[in-house]
Symmetry: C2
Subunit: 328 residues, 2 copies
């Protein structure tokens, strides 16, 4: 059986398609009895409205596109929950486009979302380039940047204060007695990573510890990236007694590497992560980290698109909290 249309309902109910539309949408100018009958017929025929036709006519899709690096990543999964829950409250659905931290994939994803005529766009940019995002200004589509702070882009953003957080994390290691603290970060163009690194340097300087370039590693993100950076440090015989890792996922790799190197945590080396993903308390040793307001990032980002209270803010900065566990 094919899909039922308003025309089918109209024929069976003996009214015009217009009346069907009015009846089904609770509009005025319909007699109560007619309305009942139409609804009855629609139900009996198994009518389901066609959103494509609606989108076309209303010039509104009630879809918001979300562009993130990977919706399976536990950090972004939480952010997405915030977006999704808020979207639902506002009568929107979301389509997710993963970038896999690749600029071309990001550009493709954004194009796809524009083709679907999303009503808004939430982007956590790859940051290799911003051409695709700047290009968005050609259209009248509202969009916002999530989880990253980008200077000079003149686009609404919601992000975590990485300088503050990085500074707090590093100070915690210093208070725990660490003297030679390494920073293991993401790609250099990743502003979240570079801000946390700035915070790290700030904390070191404030405490009279010199910043050593050998102790700063940037590279691939995710578990493998953290693993590799520790192995690099070890291969260069760089000494360290503390590590501040860009995020918890990389911290997993860091911990794995340290274990393989028979370095005890936290006795020999203390480790602190960032994000507080849900598995941070279950890993061994449990991970000290900065708890980011993940759900809120998604929630606020969505509201920046459509909620008049948040709409005209061009920047929302969130603060993360230190969560002390076993690793530091």
């Amino acid at each position: 059986m094919s899909y039922v249309t308003v025309k089918d309902i109209a024929k069976v109910a003996g009214v015009s398609t217009n009346t069907v539309s009015r009846a089904l949408n609770g509009k005025p100018d319909v007699n109560q009895e007619t309305k009942q009958k139409v609804i009855e017929v629609a139900h009996k025929l198994g009518y389901v409205s066609n959103r494509s036709a609606l989108s076309l006519k209303r010039q509104k899709s009630y879809i918001v596109g979300v562009v993130t690096e990977d919706n399976a990543n536990p950090f972004w999964a939480e952010v997405l929950k915030g977006v999704e829950a808020t979207a639902k409250n506002y009568g929107y659905h979301i389509i997710i486009a993963n970038t896999s931290r690749n600029y071309e994939t990001e550009a493709e994803g954004i194009k796809m979302l524009i083709e679907r005529r999303v009503d808004g766009l939430l982007i956590s940019p790859v940051q290799e380039k911003y051409d695709d995002i700047l290009n968005l200004k050609r259209y009248e589509i509202p969009f916002a940047i999530m989880g990253r702070h980008v200077e000079g882009l003149d686009v609404p953003m919601v992000y975590d204060d990485g300088i503050r957080g990085g500074s707090i994390a590093t100070e915690h290691l210093i208070k725990q007695g660490c003297k030679k603290i390494a920073f293991i970060g993401a790609q250099p163009y990743n502003t979240a990573s570079s801000e946390r690194c700035q915070g790290y340097k700030k904390a070191l300087q404030k405490n009279g510890i010199t910043v050593e370039d050998d102790l700063i590693k940037t590279g691939g993100i995710e578990i493998g990236g953290g693993y590799k950076s520790v192995m690099d440090l070890a291969a260069n015989h760089t000494e360290f007694d503390g590590i501040f890792v860009y995020n918890d996922l990389m911290a997993l790799g860091v911990i794995k590497a340290l274990k393989e190197l028979k370095i005890r945590i936290p006795e020999d080396v203390k480790v602190i992560g960032y994000d507080d993903i849900s598995y941070a308390s279950f890993i061994c040793p449990s991970l000290t980290t900065m708890r980011m307001k993940k759900f809120e990032i998604g929630e606020i980002a969505f509201k920046m698109l459509f909620d008049s209270n948040e709409q005209n803010k061009d920047e929302v900065v969130l603060h993360s909290d230190l969560i002390i566990r076993e690793s530091a």
Copy 2:
């Protein structure tokens, strides 16, 4: 600036909308020069095609709807990666509808996806009821069930052999010397859970161990469910030296509870999970588990919809492998 249409391009290029369409879609019956000019104009004006209009005209959306309990759940996140990667190869996009293990949410999600006129539907059902899924047969939309085995539904399915896997997991505990093995499962209507429980019973019987109802717990899923079940066992002073947990996420809760009860793993109690989520090797102690073919479930499920090689199979059964780590 509003969106550019074929009409705008036609006006500027001095041709008809039809010619624009032909030129942009690589169709024949267009002069090479005309084609070039149209493409040029389209590019200059920043044309992006409108998928809603296309969907309406072509009666095809190139979207597949995916209904799962929670895309943030590490197990389903992997399955979704399989779906997404395969969909991309076939030129499809996906829209995700989370059910939160709630029948009403599932029914709503399915309705939304039908409204968007998805070309296919992949569902991991809540299993409280099947009315919404059976209702799908009214439409001509292809769909398949992922990760669950449901008898008597006459719908294509791809799932893991839970009886086999549950049996292997339980036998592993028995070989490790466990005599009193508990099973901690999900809700009773969850067929994946009940099949693993069947496998558990089968293995016990085969090894001359009597099945004790006190040792079988069913209840809430996810971390909290596992935690609560262990605490229930402890409150009833039920003795056990091994636990087979429905999935790894619940195993996290189990391990948390055991730690709080000062029960050592694996010395006092051995624990085995199911799924092999990516964090299983990082938790403490690292989790022995059954590795499910998560990506493949998503991949095969998608192919069942459209790929002529897989299309006419009504069931694909996958086998999981025992991964031995510290917890058992």
